[in-house]
């Protein structure tokens, strides 16, 4: 029995008729959820694109799961509204919203077989007999669990249980599928594979997924659209590229990916452009958020820096001297920590096998001025970034 979603098989046969889903547009407006004095969800407004793989990303305790559960209907919002296809759903009881959920611990019904677990939602919808059997079987095949229908949840592996949870939710044709960190209990290898398979599943089915995770590489890998949540508020939203390359705050820069940050003085600020002086170089860069300011944080990603023994071409690079304090071989990259003055920068060298040497001691960090950007200091109020 293959442990993979049978992606290949799917292409051959096309979408099974059983799963015939319409993407839905989910909109949250000024959603607030309080637990006693704590604000778990603090005035969240999001417009989740139709048919996208949307991820709510954030550190533990940031409120992303609360937000998901509020959408599902397990929590009552204290304020605000939720719209599904322009229909207000926060007044509806949880079981009538058309939002099926895949739980972090799968929550399979221990007293039902795999078949019955999957069939449950259909039976509730009064699907019976041959039609029921057909739909369940098709979904079982779709997630690659053929032959396991009669097993009990306790007899399945973690990955198999996860698929049952997935199949159970898919088979009822939800408008929106909610997933609460469904991969966090799997081992690393399986996790990676499941990412691709979930992603391709979503794309084939073309339904809206709302996915919660704290793993930023997972979010970047799988999503069409990401909203980063911290302390119950939306820090930033956009597509992965936008999130990664245009973080609006230090938190964003450091949470999604690694970042090297250095304060710089702004000598001339005419939005949308600003001129800064950095290591005796004058740079003209897009202005940071929040209008005129005297200083900003200059941000450059580790992979955008080239480490070298000699200073590079002055026309192309800004060369900064530093000293390697330590390094780590991560397989596909060599990560160096380089001391420059008071700051310690991180530099990633890709494909270290191509270089027959590693770097030690005094080095030069070659920065491409086109690869830096400015972050306002302090961070501006959350809202949509400038287009």
């Amino acid at each position: 029995m293959s442990d993979k979603l049978t992606g290949g098989k799917l292409e051959a046969t096309g979408l099974p008729e059983a799963i015939n889903l319409q993407p839905a547009h989910l909109r949250l407006e000024h959603l607030v959820k309080r637990f006693g004095p704590t604000m778990a969800v603090d005035d969240v407004t999001l417009d989740i694109p139709k048919g996208s793989f949307a991820t709510l990303l954030g550190p533990s305790g940031c409120g992303k799961t609360t937000l998901l559960r509020t959408i599902a209907g397990f929590y009552e919002p204290n304020d605000g509204a939720i719209y599904l296809e322009d229909r207000r759903i926060d007044h509806l009881p949880a079981h009538r919203r058309g939002t099926a959920m895949v739980f972090q611990d799968y929550a399979l019904f221990p007293h039902m077989s795999v078949f019955d677990n999957i069939a449950y939602g259909l039976r509730l919808a009064k699907v019976q007999g041959a039609q029921l059997d057909r739909r369940v079987h098709e979904t079982v095949e779709f997630v690659g669990l053929q032959g396991l229908e009669k097993r009990w949840p306790s007899q399945l592996s973690g990955g198999q249980q996860q698929r049952v949870a997935l199949a159970r939710a898919l088979v009822v044709q939800p408008r929106v599928l909610l997933l609460d960190e469904p991969l966090s209990n799997l081992d690393a290898n399986l996790r990676e594979r499941m990412r691709w398979e979930l992603r391709s599943l979503q794309q084939r089915l073309n339904i809206t997924f709302v996915y919660v995770t704290h793993d930023q590489s997972e979010a970047l890998a799988m999503s069409d659209w990401i909203a980063v949540i911290k302390d119950g508020r939306v820090m930033q939203w956009g597509d992965p590229w936008e999130i990664y390359y245009h973080p609006r705050t230090t938190f964003m820069a450091e949470f999604v990916g690694a970042a090297n940050l250095e304060p710089v003085k702004i000598v001339d600020c005419h939005p949308p452009k600003a001129t800064v002086v950095w290591h005796d170089y004058r740079l003209e860069l897009p202005a940071p958020e929040g209008g005129a300011a005297d200083e900003a944080l200059l941000c450059i990603r580790p992979e955008a820096i080239t480490i070298s023994a000699e200073p590079g071409d002055q026309a192309r690079y800004i060369s900064l001297p530093g000293t390697v304090t330590r390094k780590a071989f991560l397989g596909h990259i060599m990560r160096y920590w380089v001391q420059m003055g008071k700051a310690e920068w991180i530099v990633d060298e890709s494909d270290p096998g191509a270089n027959l040497r590693t770097f030690d001691g005094a080095v030069y960090l070659l920065c491409d001025p086109h690869r830096v950007h400015l972050i306002a200091m302090p961070a501006p109020a959350p809202g949509a970034p400038a287009a």
């Binding site: 039902m112 077989s113 078949f115 019955d116 039976r123 009064k126 059997d133 009669k150």
Partner: protein, 362 residues
């Protein structure tokens, strides 16, 4: 396909409700069938014919109840008797009280008059002076006619004959209450807790009356007796059981119960000291009962010699009629010296006396 799924029920159906409704219907059906006679007889004051069915709340024992029903049916035809047997007059009294909005009982028979009297005062009884009551001395009747006494219970002691013979050969059987203060009895007496049992309290009151209401002397007696009491029991009948088992040698208790135990084969004897208390067993009619006319017929019969004889034979109690001999082993009224037991006074002063007793014996 092995589907472990209960058959889909409509979310609107509530199995529990259905079952309950069914039960109510079935219950009503059964109730009507069983109680049909009673309800039919409940025709109100218009129906004065002594016939139909009566419901008798009886504190008498089972054998007596059965015999009474049979005998009554033979003596007075046309009336069906349904007995609610509960050999605890206090419970019956409470029950009659709880049923006052819709009385189910016709007759309350048995149990000391101390239980009938309050009901009369509360207006729950129907006053009736039966013609047969003329054979009952006045001191055993309620002047207002709410209840009529028809038997007596004598308070005495139960003695375990085996142990008494073996262990106490030098001691004489108690002829007066003071005999119980003999140190030879130490630890061998069990006594019914007067705070909880009618009998236990009647003993205290008896002592008070014996000393002509000198409470200090009475309490002094009880205090001395306490020194000999091995343990206290929670109910009066239990004392007899314990003495019968041989756990103790003697207990103050009701003569009729002692004799019944003896007839069951227990190695016991009924010994009555001089100057003892007694209870009056009563019969009364519940006001507003289903069939008052027939109830009166029953009361009339209960006061006859035949009924008295049956009661004596089957429960060893003493009849108030002087033409009915006592049960074997039981003394006659003349042989027993009774104290002047002032019921009303005993009842009114109960709490105070109990407190005194507790103070004297703790």
């Amino acid at each position: 396909m092995d589907v472990k799924f209960s058959p889909p029920l409509d979310e609107n159906s509530m199995p529990r409700l259905t079952r309950r409704t069914f039960l109510k219907v079935a219950g009503t059906g059964i109730g009507l069938t069983v109680a049909g006679g009673i309800l039919a007889a409940c025709g109100g004051p218009a129906q004065q014919k002594a016939s139909g069915k009566i419901s008798v709340y009886s504190a008498l024992n089972e054998t007596t109840n059965n015999a009474f029903v049979d005998a009554f049916k033979k003596a007075v035809t046309g009336i069906d008797v349904e007995v609610l047997p509960l050999a605890a007059a206090g419970e019956l009294q409470t029950r009659i009280r709880t049923e006052k909005n819709s009385p189910k009982a016709d007759v309350f028979i048995g149990g000391s008059s101390e239980f009938h009297d309050p009901l009369g005062k509360e207006g729950l009884l129907e006053a009736y002076k039966s013609p047969n009551a003329s054979s009952v001395p006045d001191m055993y009747k309620d002047p207002n006619g709410f209840w009529t006494g028809w038997y007596l219970g004598i308070w005495g002691t139960v003695l375990n004959t085996d142990r008494f013979a073996k262990e106490m050969s030098g001691v004489k059987k108690p002829a007066v209450w003071e005999d119980l203060l003999d140190p030879a009895w130490k630890g061998k007496i069990v006594y019914p807790d007067p705070v909880k049992t009618g009998g236990g309290y009647i003993m205290i009151a008896t002592q008070v009356f014996r000393f002509n209401k000198d409470e200090d002397k009475a309490m002094d007696y009880m205090k001395k007796l306490h020194a000999n009491i091995g343990q206290y029991a929670g109910t009066s009948p239990q004392c007899i059981q314990l003495v019968g088992q041989g756990q103790f040698v003697l207990a103050p208790n009701w003569g009729h119960d002692i004799l019944t135990a003896k007839n069951q084969g227990q190695p016991v004897e009924f010994v009555v000291p001089e100057g003892t208390g007694f209870e009056i067993g009563a019969v009364s009619i519940v006001k507003g009962g289903p069939n008052t006319a027939a109830a009166k017929a029953f009361v009339d019969w209960a006061l006859t010699k035949e009924a008295a004889q049956l009661n004596v034979k089957l429960s060893n109690r003493l009849s108030v009629r002087n033409d009915v001999p006592p049960a074997p082993g039981s003394p006659t009224l003349e042989q027993v010296k009774l104290v002047n037991y002032d019921r009303a006074w005993a009842s009114d002063n109960k709490d105070r006396l109990l407190k005194k007793w507790q103070a004297a014996t703790s």
